[in-house]
Structures are given as C-alpha cells and as structure tokens.
C-alpha cells in the first residue's frame, strides 16, 4: 500500500493574511505555522498519545531500570547494539541515533521526568493542558497563540478559525487557512518543485494546479479509510516530511517564525517493542525529523529553539500485552542552534516501587512549561511580565531557565 503523505501547498495560501495556518494533515503528522516579526524561530513538536520517555532516554544508570522495565529494558550502554550513552546515567535509544549529534554539539537539553499540572489519564484533557498552558484554567486559547500575539502578529487580523489549527495555536485574532489534503506521493516536496518548474509555462502550471485540486477529493477518502483501519500506528515515520517543509518555510526570509509539528501514534498499549518494533520506528522518525528540520533551516538553525513534548508518560512496568499504559512524567526535550545544551534538567525521581507515581509511571521531576517559558522569554524575547500574566499565567512554580539559551 502506497504511503499517503502530505505535500506542500502554494506558499501564498499559507502565508497571505494568515497569522496561523495549518499546512498539512496526513498519516497523523501535520504542521502549522504562524508569522511573527524578527528572526528568532520557535518550533513546538507535540507527540500525541503519551510518549514512553523511558524508552527514548533509558536511565540505564538507575539500579532499578532493568528489573522494573523487564522485557522492555534495553541492553546497557556501551554494549554492542545497546543504549547510546549520553552522560553515564541516561542513554539514547539506538533508533534515535540522529539525536546524538545534537547532544554532542551541545544543542540538546533533556528533561527526563517532565509533566504539566495535569493529573489524570485522559489524552484530551492532558493535551489541552499542554496546549493551553494549564490544566485548570479552562482556557480555550493556546499559549503559543498568545505568544504570537505578544510578539505582534506580522500580518493583519483575521476572523475565522479552522479546526485544523491545533489548540496550541488557536485563539482570537489569528486567522487560519484551510488545509490542502495529502496526496499519494512519496516525496511531497517534489510536487512543490514541479510547481516551481512550471511557473512560466501557462499550460503545465494551470494543469498541475487543477490536477492537484481534482486529486484531493479522491485522496481525502483514501486517507480517511486509512485512519479508520488504524494503519500507520508508527506515524512519526512521516515526521521528516513535515519537518522538511516546516524547516524550509521557517528558513525563508519572509516566512513564518513559529511552527507546530504534530505526530500521532505514541499511545503504545500493545507490542511497543524494545530495540526494534513500532516504537523504535517512531523514534527513528522523530530523530530524523528533527535532524531534517535542522538542515532545512540551514543558517537559521542558529536562531532556532525546538521544544518537544508529550501530554504524559507511561507506566514503568510493561503490561500484559508487551506495551505500557498511561503513566505520569515523561521526557521532554529542547534543542536548537540557539540552545545551550548537553544537559539533563530537572530531578530524577527514580524507578523503585516506592518512588513511582500512583499511576505506576515516573513521578514528576520537572514542569514542562519551564521549557516553554525559557523559549518565550530567553529566546523569543517576550517581556517577562507578559509571559507571566498573559501567555502562561499561573505557572510561577515553573520558571524559565536562563542558562539554557546561548
């Protein structure tokens, strides 16, 4: 079965008059952009479904790790095919090897036990908390939307809000463009190239545009079926495609400055695999997606901060189906050319039975929103008072961290 992956639309539809626009949605991967003034770039990567942080950054230095993880434990660091050692305590899943380059370059910060203020097991409520900035606030706007507002939207204000824009970017005053659907094509960037190639040729350019429009209808149906049949559980595989497009847009001089990448498929209740398998494939997609993003940004990578977060983590112990159930804390990351990294941040609560959260997941050692605030204040340069009162109110217990930005 051919992979139905997204493609990039005419850039004008993305940028013209729209402060926030969702650009693609396919295979559970999508990205949205927003225009703001200045050169600083901020990318938020949302891993929907609840990331098993222990699998991505195994704490092999923790004496309880192998015992508690049982069948999901990876071979120790420095053994052949084992965990890639980061700092003697935490390692990296070998499938995410692409992240090692960021770590070595001092561009990656890891928070191995990160949560927001949400307590519970609902994906939706937890994601709302991650995107609105608070579990209890009842806010219907996204914190990134408020941040874009604080930065001063680069374009005029629109009125309509499309459901395709993720909550994190939703809010008043930010128009959104409808999203072109995906098409059955392996390399979506290619169609953009073809359009550019046809620019001068009236016949070819009009036909290709019409053809894509016509094709949409068919593809829509196929994708819906795909989703229903539960295909593409390891959807992060397609992240590099979205990352390449987002990176190119962010890199351009007149392009947007803020982007959100979303990848479904992290809810690994069944057969998540250890060294190999579905979760490993997702890790590989995530890591290569981030690395594609960096190269697509080119020199602008130096101006970029990427925050990667998931709504919650998973149980430390595997369940009866070779998977893990909803837990509590999980790993979050901040990376970028503007990040002063190579650091592990937050407390490590430990993995012994008595130290776990009541869900059987990792207890809280860090507030994810500290990374958001670090990016907004120290990197994007939003006034500290505005961050504290408008963008992420009620998060005094989760301060920004000065030393993490270059």
């Amino acid at each position: 079965m051919t992979a139905h992956t997204p493609y990039i639309p005419n850039r004008r539809t993305v940028l013209a008059g729209a402060a926030a626009a969702t650009v693609i949605a396919a295979q559970g991967v999508k990205f949205s952009v927003a225009a703001t003034p200045g050169n600083k770039r901020l990318v938020v990567v949302l891993l929907r479904g609840g990331l098993d942080g222990l699998a991505l950054f195994p704490p092999f230095g923790d004496s309880d790790y192998s015992k508690m993880r049982a069948g999901l434990a990876l071979p120790r660091a420095n053994t052949d095919g084992g965990v890639l050692d980061l700092d003697g305590s935490f390692g990296l899943h070998p499938a995410a090897e692409d992240l090692l380059a960021f770590w070595s370059a001092g561009e990656l910060v890891i928070a191995p036990a990160a949560v927001t203020d949400y307590r519970g097991g609902s994906h939706f409520a937890a994601q709302d908390a991650l995107e609105t900035g608070s579990a209890g606030g009842g806010s219907k706007t996204g914190w990134l939307n408020r941040a874009v507002g604080a930065l001063g939207s680069a374009t005029g204000k629109g009125v309509t809000v499309s459901d395709d824009v993720p909550l994190i970017l939703r809010g008043p005053g930010n128009a959104s463009a409808a999203t072109p659907p995906p098409r059955p094509y392996r390399n979506p960037g290619f169609f953009r190239q073809v359009q550019l190639l046809y620019g001068d040729d009236t016949l070819f350019s009009s036909m290709i545009v019409q053809g894509e429009r016509d094709r949409q209808r068919t593809t829509d149906t196929v994708t819906a079926e795909d989703v229903q049949s539960g295909r593409g559980a390891d959807r992060a595989q397609f992240l590099p495609i979205a990352a390449a497009m987002a990176g190119k847009l962010l890199a351009s001089d007149d392009g947007p400055r803020v982007a959100v990448l979303e990848a479904d498929g992290w809810d690994t209740h069944w057969d998540q695999g250890a060294m190999d398998g579905r979760l490993a494939r997702s890790f590989s997609g995530l890591a290569s997606g981030l690395s594609v993003l960096a190269s697509a940004l080119g020199p602008a990578w130096k101006e970029t901060v990427v925050v990667v977060a998931s709504e919650f983590g998973r149980t430390v112990k595997p369940n009866a189906h070779g998977g893990t159930d909803h837990g509590f804390a999980t790993s979050a990351m901040m990376l970028g050319g503007a990040v002063a990294g190579g650091k592990i941040v937050g407390q490590w609560p430990g993995l012994s039975d008595g130290k776990l959260d009541k869900t059987g997941g990792i207890a809280s050692g860090f507030d994810t929103r500290s990374l958001f605030k670090t990016a907004l204040f120290h990197h994007m340069g939003i006034n500290g008072n505005t961050v504290a009162t408008t963008v992420l109110p009620g998060t005094a217990s989760a301060p920004g961290i000065p030393g993490l930005i270059r």
Binding site: G189, F190, V194, L197, Q210, E212, R213, R215
Partner: protein
C-alpha cells in the same frame, strides 16, 4: 564537477536538439554531438535506411497468422478460445517488440514516420478479430512504403487483410451483385467513408454521400481468402460479390472493371491535391504544431506533389521547411514519445519492450489500441489534462527512483546533453539545487522542456 550553463549556444546546437527531439524520440546522451552541425542531413540520411529493420523481419506474416486463425476456427469453439488467448499474448509481444525497435533504432526519424503513418491508417486491437494482425499490418503495409509513392502505401493499406477486417469490408457485398442480390443491407461503406474522410481527401473537401457510396461499390469484393488455398489468409477479390456497372465518383465516370475499379479510385485519390493538403496538415500537426502555419503545410505539400504524390517527398518537405525548425517547443509529447525519450536519455536499450509497452499503456496510450479508426489525436491538449499530467509527473518520479543517469553523469549535465539549448537556464538551476539525484532526475523528466517537442 557540474558544467555551468553555457552563456550562448551555436545555431547548429539548436538544430541538433530540434532534430533529435522534434523529429526523433529524443536524444541519447551523446547523440547531439553526433548530429553535430548538420541536423537536416542527419534526418535526410536516415531516409536511405531500410524502414523494416532486421529485428522485425523474422516475425510471422499476416498470411500465416490468419491461416492459424482459420485453422482454429475450423476446429471449433474451444480451439478458437485457446487460439484467442494465445493470439492476444502474441500480439502484445509483437507490439512490444516494435516498441523496442523504435527505442533502439539508430534511425529515429524513420520510427517517428512509421508511427505517424501507422496512426494515420489506424488498425486497432480494440477489435478482437484484428488483434493478431496489427503489428504485421505495420510491417507489411506501412514500413516498406513510408518512402514510396503514396498510392503504393494506400493500396497496401486498403488491400491488407487487417484493414479489410477492421473496417468490415470483408463482408461488403454489392446490392446488385450475384451474391448480394436480394439480401438486406449487403453493402458496408465503413472503409469507403474512412478513406475519404480521413485517409485521403479529408472531411469537408467537397465529396458527397454519393461519392462515399460509389467508392464503397467499387471496393465490394475486396476481401480475405478463406477457402481457396491460393489466397487463404491474403487479399482476395471475389467477382461474385462485386457491384457491376459503371460508377460516378468525384464527378468522373469509372467503367465497370472489377478489382481495377478500386485500384483506379485509390490512384485518383492518392494523386489528388486535396489528399496532399490533408496529409500535409496532419503531418505538420504530428511533428511540429497543433495549428500549423500555412507555410509549413505547403512546404510538406510541395514535397508530396513532386513525383505525383510521394510519402518520402512529404518527409523531405517537412525537414526542409524553415517553420519546422523554430526553437519554440509547440507540441506536448504523446505518452509514446515521452516514455521512449526518457529511456533514450538514460541510454537504455530494450529487447522485449514489455516494460515500455506497460509504461505507455499506463500513461493513456496503449500501443496499437487506439479507441477509434481515427487513431490517436495529435492535439497537445489531449495528452495534458490535469489528471494525465499528474500521472505523467508521478511516472517521471517513479522512473527516476529506479534508475540513475548513465556513466555517473550528474543530472544537470545529462539535461544539457539530451536537451541542449532547449533546456532553460532556470530549469538547469533547479536541477542543480534539487535535494537529491532522484528528485533532480524526476524534475528533468517532468520539466516542460522535456515534456514538449
């Protein structure tokens, strides 16, 4: 090291690129250099080669193919079913072999001319009865005659069993003939109609329905031998089916003369100026532009007239007309043109041709299977609809993904090698900055310069 885009091209470089692209099936990587500064001579010199290459000479002739069919039919239904399956397979193999010959040919202008005339005189596999014969028809009626007098080709075409079966002349009886008298609607005028409307004079050239009927009468009795061992599987004239009496055809009186009547009618048609104009217009459309300028058509027509209606004269007229050499690419390649030119640019040679056939079929032009007797259209817009263009682009990406430029060449260099001055600097630049070789190659093939002729 990728070559820079040249600051200027020589005139003859433009000529070489046009010769290979517009008159052939696109250049192989070294071909523009081989054509050098004599593009016209390169084309004209091909006209002394044998249009029936060795690879096609060993294939069975239509007499044998038809005899097989008649034998199977005599044996009964089940053997006919087996025969049909076999025949279908064999017909597709032959069609594929013909495509391989076109791809490998050192004389691509001949191959283009063959395809032009084969399409002009369409016999399509869409009619199951002629399926086994379509490739043999090209070998026997078209190829040997593309540099002959037009009458010779026309006669070979109209008397060929494939055409007689395809347009139902095999069962056309004169209403007053011995065999036809008393029958209901014994006459079939499809062949006569197509002859006037399409093969020769052309629609709107002034003939009437009475002329169609007269020609149909003259062609009664033109059929295929079945029982007589001497003509089994070949052209046969059956006098008892023929409509006697004189005929008034195109304001002339043709006396009753059996098989000679039809030949006289074809001769008259083949020499007519209207025929020359119709054919010239179509050849100009097929090779140069959808709406030919009068100068171009009259250049081809001048070639037709010399020697009293010659197909080779038309080819020469086409090459010599200055309008054929304008650098603007005004035609979109048909799927056949596109697939063969992609493969030639990769310096590929084929033995069986099956993959070529499949690719062309996928892009909407199943070889030897034109839907109607009028053949495949020449208009560019028939090949570039939104859906077809998407399919083309996807096919280009697909083939780019499973192949590599020959001799380790970079894609921008390959583009300059096969398109020469037809390549636009902007496209060259895009090929240079494509994210990888596959994308670059796909973009080369998807580019308007490559998609056009």
């Amino acid at each position: 090291m990728v070559r820079e885009f040249p600051e200027a091209f020589e005139d003859h470089e433009v000529g070489a690129a046009i010769a290979a692209t517009r008159f052939g099936y696109g250049a192989r990587p070294q071909e523009l250099l081989q054509i050098g500064n004599q593009p016209r001579e390169w084309l004209l010199s091909q006209m002394i080669s044998d249009p029936l290459p060795e690879a096609l000479k060993s294939l069975p002739d239509s007499k044998d193919l038809l005899s097989d069919m008649l034998a199977a039919r005599q044996k009964g239904r089940s053997s006919m079913r087996v025969y049909r399956q076999e025949a279908r397979k064999r017909a597709l193999n032959e069609a594929a072999t013909h495509l391989a010959v076109s791809l490998n040919s050192p004389t691509p202008f001949i191959e283009r001319l063959v395809r032009f005339w084969t399409n002009h005189f369409t016999v399509s596999m869409v009619k199951p009865a002629v399926m086994p014969l379509v490739a043999a028809f090209e070998r026997e009626a078209i190829r040997p005659n593309i540099f002959n007098s037009f009458y010779t080709m026309l006669h070979a075409v109209v008397s060929h069993p494939a055409m007689l079966i395809y347009l139902d002349n095999v069962n056309s009886l004169g209403p007053n003939s011995v065999a036809g008298r008393g029958r209901k609607n014994p006459l079939n005028d499809r062949l006569a109609r197509q002859l006037l409307e399409h093969f020769t004079l052309g629609e709107g050239s002034g003939y009437t329905q009475l002329d169609v009927r007269a020609l149909a009468h003259m062609l009664t009795g033109w059929t295929v031998g079945v029982n007589n061992p001497a003509t089994r599987g070949e052209f046969a004239f059956r006098d008892s089916w023929h409509e006697g009496n004189f005929k008034e055809f195109l304001r002339r009186t043709f006396p009753s003369a059996g098989v000679l009547e039809g030949e006289a009618a074809l001769d008259h048609l083949a020499r007519s100026a209207a025929t020359g104009k119709n054919l010239s217009h179509k050849m100009a459309q097929a090779f140069v532009v959808d709406e030919p300028d009068p100068g171009l058509a009259s250049g081809i027509f001048a070639g037709f007239v010399v020697g009293g209606g010659r197909a080779d004269g038309m080819a020469r007229g086409l090459v010599e007309a200055p309008e054929s050499w304008v650098s603007e690419q005004r035609k979109v390649k048909s799927p056949t043109d596109l697939v063969l030119s992609v493969l030639r640019s990769l310096d590929v040679r084929s033995r069986s041709g099956r993959r070529i056939l499949n690719a062309i079929r996928m892009l909407g032009q199943p070889p030897y299977q034109a839907p109607t007797p009028d053949g495949w259209p020449y208009s560019s817009l028939s090949w570039i609809t939104p859906e077809l263009l998407l399919e083309r682009v996807e096919w280009c990406a697909e083939i780019a993904g499973i192949t590599r430029p020959p001799d380790g060449k970079s894609v921008p260099d390959l583009a300059l090698d096969v398109l020469g001055p037809l390549l636009k600097p902007a496209t060259h630049r895009r090929l240079r900055v494509a994210r990888d070789e596959v994308e670059a190659l796909a973009l080369l093939y998807a580019s308007p310069e490559f998609q056009r002729r």
